[in-house]
């Protein structure tokens, strides 16, 4: 079977597996959430009836009113008294919004109301998203040298570990550090600052944010009367950026490790950077890292132009 054929088949298999995964998730979510939803429905109906019973309001005017309220709420405007002070579009919040737009998190707790705002969001996102991705990639490439290649080679030289073991250990440590530093600690901080959030809610928020899913059910800094709101929002922005970078880094480290261990070639998945080449012949991944490095340095770097450049600087 030619490799092209094989890749198509693998892809189809992948898609099917993915669909199965989705179905599985759907089923589980449905089973867990539906009873709660039903109960809530009943509760709200009861509440409405009670309200209607004890007052002179009739159903239609109440519903009309509620529609208006909910419409406003969709855009983040609440009629509750103590929330009228802060705007959703002051500078810090707008910056926060632009940030969620550009990192594709997209909470949705505030969305552009005006048509101009929507049109502007479109263009802003189309430019900003690649831009941000570029920045993040660039930073991560550099960080990889610092965080991954450096320690691993140091480990190998000093402790004399095998490359496979060294990479695996390093990845485990990196993962632990990232989880602690970017999930647990921020979750503690968030659960402390936001009164209504429990620790689990805060971890859920951190996770949903750093994966750029951004459901929007929890958004920091939205409670009315928040102290230092601007500072808070800006620090959340910084957390978002740095956290994204770290997630990306972990991903790259994982990819590299998978490469080394031959997993990616086993599943015929894309390889990590260094190994990308035209395929002429298969190469076993593991253990060839050193050989490759030797070959690299021995590669003819086309000395002609180099020597001429060097000889100029007498």
């Amino acid at each position: 079977m030619s490799s092209w054929y094989k890749s198509w088949i693998l892809l189809t298999g992948f898609i099917l597996f993915y669909v199965a995964y989705l179905l599985f998730g759907a089923f589980v979510f449905s089973t867990i959430e539906r009873p709660v939803e039903d109960k809530l429905k009943r509760d709200i109906q009861v509440l409405k009836e009670e309200f209607l019973n004890q007052s002179c309001v009739n159903a239609t005017s109440l519903e009309h009113f509620l529609e208006g309220v909910l419409q406003a709420n969709k855009y983040g405007i609440s009629i509750l008294p103590n929330s009228s002070a802060s705007s959703n579009w002051d500078l810090a919040s707008s910056l926060f919004f632009a940030n969620t737009l550009v990192t594709t998190v997209g909470y949705g707790h505030t969305t552009p109301l005006s048509d101009t705002g929507k049109a502007f969001s479109i263009f802003y996102a189309l430019l900003g998203v690649p831009f941000t991705m570029l920045v993040l990639t660039a930073c991560v490439q550099r960080l990889m040298h610092l965080v991954t290649y450096g320690p691993i080679s140091m480990c190998r030289q000093k402790i004399g570990l095998e490359p496979l073991a060294a990479t695996a250990i390093h990845f485990a440590i990196l993962l632990l550090v990232v989880v602690l530093g970017f999930f647990v600690v921020p979750a503690v901080v968030f659960s402390y600052i936001e009164d209504t959030w429990s620790f689990l809610d805060a971890i859920y928020f951190c996770f949903i944010t750093l994966c750029t899913i951004g459901l929007g059910d929890y958004v920091p800094g939205e409670k009315p009367g928040q102290n230092f709101r601007s500072l808070y929002k800006i620090s959340v922005m910084v957390y978002l950026f740095v956290g994204l970078m770290m997630m990306y880094l972990v991903l790259r480290a994982f990819h590299r490790m998978a490469d080394l261990h031959g997993l990616t070639s086993f599943f015929q998945l894309p390889h990590c950077d260094e190994d990308i080449e035209e395929d002429k012949e298969p190469i076993i991944e593991a253990g060839h890292e050193d050989q490759h490095e030797a070959e690299d340095s021995a590669k003819p770097l086309d000395p002609a132009s180099q020597t001429s450049y060097n000889t100029i600087n007498r």
């Binding site: 597996f17 007052s55 009113f65 709420n73 983040g76 579009w89 910056l95 594709t104 949705g108 070959e295």
Partner: protein, 498 residues
């Protein structure tokens, strides 16, 4: 995150069957066969053209400063399948090459910080614009809803404000849970029936995350986290695969076009770059029509949104931002009474569209990234070449200058020697006549008479430190004249007449 993953996988490996290191070395790796086919074809063509040496870009890269972002990613990312770069980027020395690492790192930190500041600036500009656009609307809405509330309260006197607010709070949290209190509870569809849960799972995995549906139970949230942890990489791989296929198809198309154009008679020949650019533009346009414009029209028709809102929804979804203010297939509460009957296959089709559209968007975005890289690389190359030329020029000039000085100094020392020998001869002949007695000590300047005219032009520099001291003596006959020379320098003047 998955987007970034798309970058990590798709752009670098998947959508780009990266060309990585140049041809010629044995270090090739078997890749997921799909994209490499086209890359293989291209590489063979390149090899025929250039043999086993590195490609032009590599050569210039060996000399010029390295790529803007990262030589490695440039190396594999490059796949000119979608970009017009004809040159393959250089492969790198291994990261363990310390000198190179530091050299690249130093150069790249500068660019990264520049880009970072640009991003911050971009964000600030966006914030200002958003505030200017949205705040007036927001205040308007606030006033409107407050007025409504007051109206309501005044109309229905038996309701007091706090009761109303309680009710509103409850209603809002119910809405967040997806329950619509306005509707009649019997014909209401659940937000957690199978198809909606499927859709929700899809939004979680693609990291779009609309948010109109969100898990409320603790169990639901924990499961959501675990589910996403596994599902996002899974989707990332899928996207890489699909993007790769798209890219391969596109690349093959370009190759075919190139072959056709190549076989045309000479006068119709168009440069390779032009072909690539044109085909990329066509690709983008076609993709835009297929994945953006067409769905927008369909959504506008089915969901009843305005044109702007449909396009807004399409863009926000396909870039995985996913605000959730507009969601296809979830009618929500905007229009109150009228519920739209969706066909059964509507939601799955929407989901499928999201998948393909995401792959397309990823391909386009990575192509834009490629272009940035190529442009920056080309600029760097040009700047590097310019620097090289400037260095050459300065080196040449300074070398010439040194050479001239050297020759001059040799000349002068030669002349001094001859003058010394002549002085000895003269003094021995003339018996120590005080040549120097009539000379005014004057300044120790050296005035050189360059005897015959042509010599004077030949060594203009030799008129060093001229300070003609008055009272020059001239010796007759021999064509010497001394201008206030100190005894030590008399010899030079004598020499010139020789």
């Amino acid at each position: 995150m998955r987007n970034s993953k798309k970058r990590a996988f798709g752009r670098e490996e998947g959508s780009g069957s990266g060309t990585g290191s140049a041809s010629g070395t044995g270090r090739v790796v078997r890749r997921a066969g799909t994209g490499s086919r086209q890359a293989r074809v291209k590489n063979q063509e390149d090899e025929k053209k250039r043999g086993w040496e590195k490609t032009g870009a590599d050569r210039t890269n060996a000399v010029a400063p390295p790529d803007l972002l990262d030589p490695k990613s440039a190396a594999h990312n490059s796949k000119p399948r979608l970009s017009f770069s004809a040159a393959k980027p250089l492969v790198l020395n291994s990261p363990e090459d310390e000198y190179d690492t530091t050299r690249f790192t130093v150069m790249r930190w500068k660019t990264v910080s520049v880009i970072f500041f640009l991003v911050v600036l971009y964000l600030i500009v966006g914030a200002l614009v958003f505030r200017a656009l949205e705040q007036p609307h927001e205040s308007q809405q606030k006033l409107a809803i407050l007025a409504e509330k007051l109206d309501f309260l005044s109309l229905h006197a038996c309701v007091n404000s706090s009761e109303l607010e309680d009710l509103v709070k409850q209603v809002i949290s119910a809405i967040r849970a997806g329950v619509n209190p306005s509707a009649n509870s019997s014909n209401q569809t659940s937000l957690w029936d199978l198809s909606s849960s499927f859709f929700f799972a899809g939004t979680v995995i693609t990291t779009i995350g609309f948010g109109n549906i969100a898990p409320h139970t603790e169990g639901g949230r924990i499961f959501c986290i675990i589910y996403a942890l596994l599902g996002i990489p899974l989707f990332g791989f899928l996207l890489a695969g699909v993007g790769d296929q798209l890219g391969t198809i596109f690349g093959k198309g370009i190759n075919r076009v190139e072959k056709i154009v190549g076989s045309l008679p000479q006068k119709w020949k168009v440069s390779q770059t032009k072909i690539r650019v044109i085909s990329t533009v066509i690709f983008i346009l076609f993709g835009c029509v297929l994945f953006v414009a067409l769905p927008a029209v369909i959504f506008k028709h089915i969901e009843g949104w305005s044109t702007l809102e449909s396009i807004y929804f399409v863009v926000i979804t396909l870039t995985t931002i996913g605000f959730g203010d507009f969601v296809a297939g979830e009618k929500g509460l905007e229009k109150g009474g009228s519920e739209i009957e969706y066909l059964d296959y509507y939601k799955p089709v929407v989901w499928f569209w999201i998948l393909i559209g995401l792959a397309y968007f990823a391909a386009v975005l990575s192509m834009i990234g490629d272009w940035f890289r190529v442009i920056s690389k080309k600029t760097k190359e040009e700047v590097g070449e310019f620097r090289i030329h400037a260095a050459e020029w300065t080196a040449n000039v300074s070398a010439e200058f040194k050479e001239t000085r050297r020759r001059l100094s040799v000349d002068i020392s030669n002349k001094f020697e001859r003058a010394a020998s002549i002085k000895r001869r003269l003094s021995s002949e003339l018996g120590l006549n005080p040549i120097t007695q009539e000379m005014t000590p004057g300044r120790r300047t050296l005035s050189v008479n360059l005897g015959p005219g042509d010599e004077r032009e030949a060594y203009p520099n030799l008129a060093l430190s001229l300070t003609p001291v008055p009272g020059a003596l001239a010796r007759n006959g021999s064509g010497l004249y001394l201008n206030g020379l100190s005894p030590d320098y008399a010899e030079v003047a004598i020499i010139e007449s020789l």
